[in-house]
């Protein structure tokens, strides 16, 4: 019921305008404090030295790569089952942001891997499955725009998003299922985080900032898509007017 209340674009636009200032605040404030703690306060790692500071951007980017893809899969399911117009737009608006986060996870991971592993890249399970995720995002974006009929493009992209969701648990558990150079989870563990609070707090603050950054951009981009749709309708009616 709640979902259908916000299916109305006008209601969504009103809600988005109310939420946006708060989500901007919840992006900027945690990122500012998190960056300060990450660069100036958090201690170096006893094994990795100062290079551990890459974790504060790499790990949130990797979490967001998975979170955004999961959001797209949920939005796609909602769009396919209930024909919810905003769900399609949310998936479309999320895809480039998710691809950006995945690119950042890969690039910052590479910059962390070189000093620690002695290699920019290794074809191990975690890195390869995240690369596959990046290609899934690119495929999703390409499919969205591949058809003259946008509805067909959205439907094809939604099916790809749902099929590709199988990669999400593979990424998460790749470090347990296969031998890998990548370290296992140290925060999202059943027995609680194994990371020291001095490092955990900046990491959580950065992750909070990254999450609200996604919320902010999602609201802006869905708003933008709704206005673009309205512009298309007005332009068409203008062309058809006598």
């Amino acid at each position: 019921m709640m979902l259908h209340r916000f299916a109305n674009p006008t209601r969504f636009l009103r809600l988005a305008d109310k939420v946006l200032p708060w989500s901007v605040l919840l992006t900027v404030a945690p990122l500012a404090v998190g960056l300060y703690l990450a660069l100036f306060v958090a201690p170096p790692d006893y094994q990795q030295g100062e290079s551990v500071r890459i974790m504060y951007v790499h790990v949130p980017a990797a979490w967001m790569a998975l979170f955004v893809y999961t959001s797209i899969a949920i939005a796609s399911a909602v769009a396919l089952i209930w024909r919810h117009p905003l769900a399609d737009l949310a998936a479309k608006a999320s895809s480039p942001i998710g691809a950006g986060f995945t690119f950042l996870a890969l690039a910052t991971g590479s910059l962390w891997g070189k000093p620690m592993w002695g290699a920019w890249w290794v074809w191990d399970a975690r890195l390869t499955s995240v690369l596959v995720l990046f290609f899934l995002y690119l495929g999703h974006m390409a499919l969205m725009n591949a058809f003259d009929d946008p509805v067909r493009g959205r439907r094809a992209a939604a099916i790809l998003a749902l099929v590709g969701f199988v990669n999400v648990p593979i990424i998460k558990f790749s470090v347990e299922w296969w031998n890998t150079l990548h370290q296992p989870a140290s925060v999202l563990r059943l027995d609680g985080p194994s990371i020291h609070p001095d490092m955990l707090w900046p990491l959580l603050l950065m992750a909070t900032g990254f999450t609200f950054y996604y919320v902010t951009l999602l609201l802006i981009r869905v708003k933008s898509e709704l206005i673009a749709a309205r512009v298309r309708v007005l332009s068409m009616s203008g062309l058809n007017a006598p």
Partner: protein, 65 residues
């Protein structure tokens, strides 16, 4: 001065740490700016269309400020 140099060197890992942060900032700021610019451009286009055809514009869509 020496303190700043030590901070920037990051124990010989500065060449990896700073590009990681710079890249993250560039991608995130880039996305935010381009999304905001798109929204502004589309709003402007909508206002222009609504101004050209006020009776159509009042029927729905985003309310003009």
């Amino acid at each position: 001065m020496e303190e700043i140099e030590t901070f920037l060197a990051m124990g010989e890992h500065g060449a990896f740490i700073w590009p990681a942060y710079a890249l993250t900032a560039a991608v995130m700021i880039g996305f935010a700016v381009s999304s905001w610019r798109d929204l502004r451009a589309r709003r402007k286009a909508l206002r222009a269309l609504e101004a050209a055809a006020p009776e159509r514009g009042r029927r729905g869509g985003e309310a003009a400020p």
